[in-house]
Amino acid sequence: MLNEIEQNRKERQSAWEYVINYFRKRSIWLLHYCTGCGAVELPPVMTSRWDLERFGVGPMATPRQADVFLVTGYASIKTLKRMIRTYEQMPKPRWVIGFGACTINGGIYYKSYNVINKLDRYIPVDIFISGCMPRPEAILAALEELRNMIQRGEAKGYDRYVKNYDWYKKNQKEILEREGSLFGEADDENK
């Protein structure tokens, strides 16, 4: 059994990577970007009731020193612009947690004209937390899962961003620098 696990591991990552990942997963600095209402669940998670510190996770004030980018909820178009800038400032390896239904498909803001629906189209998300808003336990579970993914070498959002850079940039541009109306001329005449 142990041999099997060892074998699997070796196929995916070298011993050196394994050790690095082991340490990486044990000191995660969170950049909690409080875009939406879900952010109110973070103070209890970080303070004594659920105490995030015991997992080696702490809040970080600047993107240049953070590992995990926590997007807490809906992102308006103007926010998206800042988010992309923040994300690109973070050093690799960097991970993104999409927090709440709004980051998955728009949630209750699905019909809104100024809130994006799928966060994954603009920056690569490693793990989503469902719920509107997610309970602190769910946040802890997600962090735990992210730690496991880091250890297994599966959380590779930053690689995805590099490999599909054109695709992400195209999507971002579609929103931020679109030219012309989305409704055709025929639609305009009716209005």
């Binding site: 612009k81 728009g106 629906n117 931020l176 679109r178 989305l182 409704f183 209005k191």
Partner: protein
Amino acid sequence: MKTSDILNKTKELFPYIATELFEEQQGRVYVCSDHFLNVLVYLRNSSFVHLANIFAIDWIEEKEFELNYNLWSYDHNSSIIVKVRIPREKPEIPTVLDLWEHGQVYEQEIHEFFGIEFAGNPDLSPLFLHNWKEIPPMRKDFDTEEYSKRAFDVGEREGAK
């Protein structure tokens, strides 16, 4: 002075307006766009010095926009809403910047979200929306759901493998 007395007095001075006592401390004044500035000047000079808000309503079936000027008097502890209707086609109304300087933000916002022109306001640049190319979004004939579908809900995540 009670709100009802204020309303009666205003009505005496401006016979062409309609007034309504909505609640004990809240009155409403209906006036056309030609005369609304007179009423606002009068109210401002009779202690309604606080412009709390300006907001617009789109009455699409009646083909009209309604602008509401929300005034408050600290002396009488009462509020008066001045309601002005303007046609939906080429909506334009004089600015109230000369009376209340801080009306700037409200007028800018209404211009952005309803497309109403405020004649005399020097700066109606966009405040909130980013790169907006459609009709103003708070108009009733703007289909937010369809817009959201076309702008944000396109394609699957197939590119991000």
